[in-house]
Symmetry: C2
Subunit: 452 residues, 2 copies
């Protein structure tokens, strides 16, 4: 992951902003900001500390406000909205697509929501309510309602004349949706077919019949998988009766994929991907402090295990010197297995059907690496303390701990999922507890039996 041009550019931009802000060249800043795309401004706002973020936000042209709000993360959005007047908010909200509006609606003050709904046409209000009635992480929550529909019993030529009359198409329109008079979804008519097929043909003859529309209650993640596997750009969303509700576009699916991956990475360190990196110190400290507190419990359990053997340590102080090696090697090996299994589960490669095979394999890998590194550590310890028995003990403890780590790393995430707990968030703490306890117990326990 070497520094790419893109990152450099984004950093250079940030640098020049920082300089312009420091020297108070507000006109320059205003010009620079408004030359950027909404997504780029959103990115910039996320990269700026609060005071400068507020200043830049003031300078953004109002017609971009809505778009930018739909791009920034939840934390930053709440702060930006807090800074805006009611009429600015209403104007911003009115400029948005329904799916984006639905996303930010919950952050808006009640008065604004009321005004926005008032200002909409009845049809739009009806559609927005349709989107809002589905959870954000379902197909219904992801969908937009800007579909263009045609009937099956007209010719391509009629469709072409209708489209020329219409004058323009929503962004990312690759298909028109063919529906009957009750809005029931019948099939897809691609723009490519409209421009390449004989204009005398009927829509019903040309359309794709066998496309299965997406049910509105399908999970966002499943939608993402479908888009990836079928290489879709847009897909129609239908209700339980097969009536067309809207469509999902690939840009929203890319966001789902991106967020899902971010979520895995961040949860494994007890972080939230929607957090503002410049959140006030107290807020960040509280969120992360909870994670530290949970880990402190783990550490105290490990200490308690060590405490059981304090008499042994007092006699052979070399044990205190060597014991962190056993625990830490177990932790590292376990987290490799854990990461592999959590990702495999997220990608659907691993589940109850092949869990046993994965476990067997991971135990073998743990055993083999346990043997290898146990030998190395045994030699080092024997040379260091001039006592081959210490070498034998640490080798045995390490082998035990690496096998335990493989067992724990492979089973904890599956167990967590069965309990309905997010494995990415919770597994690593439990794993550390296991590898610490087993590591210290095996090493100090063996030493107590053998050396005393």
């Amino acid at each position: 992951m070497a520094e790419t041009q893109e990152q450099e550019k984004s950093q250079t931009r940030l640098q020049s902003f920082a300089e312009a802000l420091e020297s108070g060249r507000l006109v320059t800043i205003r010009r620079m900001v408004n030359e950027l795309h909404a997504a780029e401004i959103a990115h910039l706002l996320e990269s700026l500390p609060p005071s400068e973020r507020e200043l830049v936000w003031e300078m953004v042209e109002p017609d971009k406000d809505g778009d930018i709000l739909s791009y920034v993360n939840d934390d930053v959005r709440a702060k930006l909205i807090h800074q805006m007047e009611t009429d600015e908010l209403v104007a911003a909200a009115e400029s948005l697509d329904t799916d984006d509006l639905a996303d930010i609606l919950q952050d808006l003050p009640d008065m604004v929501i009321h005004e926005v709904l008032q200002s909409m046409s009845e049809q739009d209000r009806f559609r927005l309510e349709a989107v809002l009635s589905y959870p954000e992480d379902t197909a219904g929550g992801l969908m937009n309602i800007d579909t263009v529909t045609v009937r099956p019993n007209v010719t391509i030529d009629v469709v072409l004349r209708y489209l020329r009359l219409r004058g323009q198409l929503p962004e990312m329109t690759d298909y028109l949706y063919v529906v009957n008079r009750n809005d029931k979804f019948l099939g897809l008519l691609s723009l490519a077919d409209i421009v390449t097929k004989d204009p005398g043909l009927m829509v019903g003859q040309v359309m794709i019949h066998d496309f299965e529309p997406i049910p509105a209650n399908m999970s966002a993640r499943e939608v993402a998988g479908l888009f990836e596997r079928r290489d879709l750009i847009t897909a129609p969303v239908v209700d339980d009766d097969g009536r067309l509700l809207g469509r999902i576009t690939i840009d929203d699916v890319v966001d789902v994929i991106r967020e899902e991956a971010e979520h895995s990475i961040m949860s494994m360190a007890g972080l939230d991907e929607e957090d503002d990196i410049f959140a006030p110190v107290v807020v960040s400290s509280r969120r992360r402090g909870i994670w530290l507190g949970i880990n402190l419990i783990t550490a105290l359990i490990a200490s308690w295990v060590i405490g059981l053997f304090d008499a042994t340590i007092e006699k052979v102080v070399a044990l205190a010197v060597l014991m962190p090696i056993v625990a830490s090697m177990g932790g590292i090996a376990g987290s490799q297995t854990l990461t592999l299994v959590i990702r495999g589960m997220a990608l659907g490669h691993i589940g109850s059907a092949n869990a046993k095979r994965i476990l067997t394999k991971e135990l073998a890998v743990g055993g083999l690496n346990g043997l290898l590194w146990a030998l190395v550590v045994a030699v080092v310890s024997t040379l260091w303390f001039g006592n081959y028995m210490i070498g034998v003990i640490i080798a045995a403890a390490m082998l035990i701990n690496l096998v335990a780590a493989a067992l724990a790393g492979a089973t904890i995430p599956l167990f967590m999922r069965r309990m309905g707990i997010d494995p990415a968030l919770s597994s690593s703490v439990v794993l550390t507890t296991v590898t610490d306890v087993v590591g210290f117990f095996a090493f100090l326990g063996l030493a107590t039996v053998v050396l005393l």
Copy 2:
């Protein structure tokens, strides 16, 4: 990340495959396999252990071979190719798009490459060589060459007649590319405009003039950023002289985004996202063993620090019991900062321009959490060992270590990147070394000074 329907379905499928394979119902298996899409078969093959994978691969209809090979990960692909005859490979290779063919070409035996190139038309061979001349992780490596071009000085109506004559368009065609007679890129003509605009207008009047084409040497990651920010579906790729070479489609960009995220997650545990989860035990052990070896060096350094204070530990054995708490809390806090910074860098939020602010903030968070948890640990330790001096010492050591962890977590990734080393892969080992060494040194050092 609760169990989604998609994962359930994929697991159910895997389960029924496993059962069918066990009972040897080969006809059932063949039918089940060939009902799936290529991407779904690829996913299935990745989820099966080697022996069953080979069996299923034998049953796949030959015309799907090429597509499936372009979907599976590098490791699995090499194994599947190994199992195929030359003529099967040639047939599979011939069925692929140039960008996919370019991706798998390096895995093919020389004889197959030769035959595939021989079988191609001169134009296709020329185009394949163009794709091959760019590294896989650049725009040139991602691009496909199935562009449809038009001239600016014809009417929309002429374009429509040309397209009807042509009969079909490549998948994911949202724009035709407007070029001059030397193939220099001039602009974009959307299918949407072709079907909505007055057919008497000239292409040059309707086309989008201000779209900046992608230079062939732009990095894949930068391409992904561009697609995300501008909500693109396809984009033209040009050489240094502005001549059209091909186009990039969103499906390949989604793969880049997915792989980049996988890479971050896997590297942090010293794993490779292209590894086969069912690689032979010896292969997996070797790869992961190296990572364990590197971490063993860290652990030995930590032990050496403890060894410096063995006389102190011998006198106050409570120190041995408590010392892992200081090190592990530092490690957890540091890895939070580290994850935040590595992701911030990958997303372009963090770089040299705002590094100092991030550092200040992280130090403050570390200090605050250090104070809080130092107090808690101090109380616990004092009660446990009935010696308030031990409480004071561990509190001080913990505060020091959490501040050091914040410092290390925020600066190591930036330093690694400057050195040209992948921060996701290397930072965590260095961080652990820092938090272990500082933690043990601060705690045992203070104890030596104060207690003895």
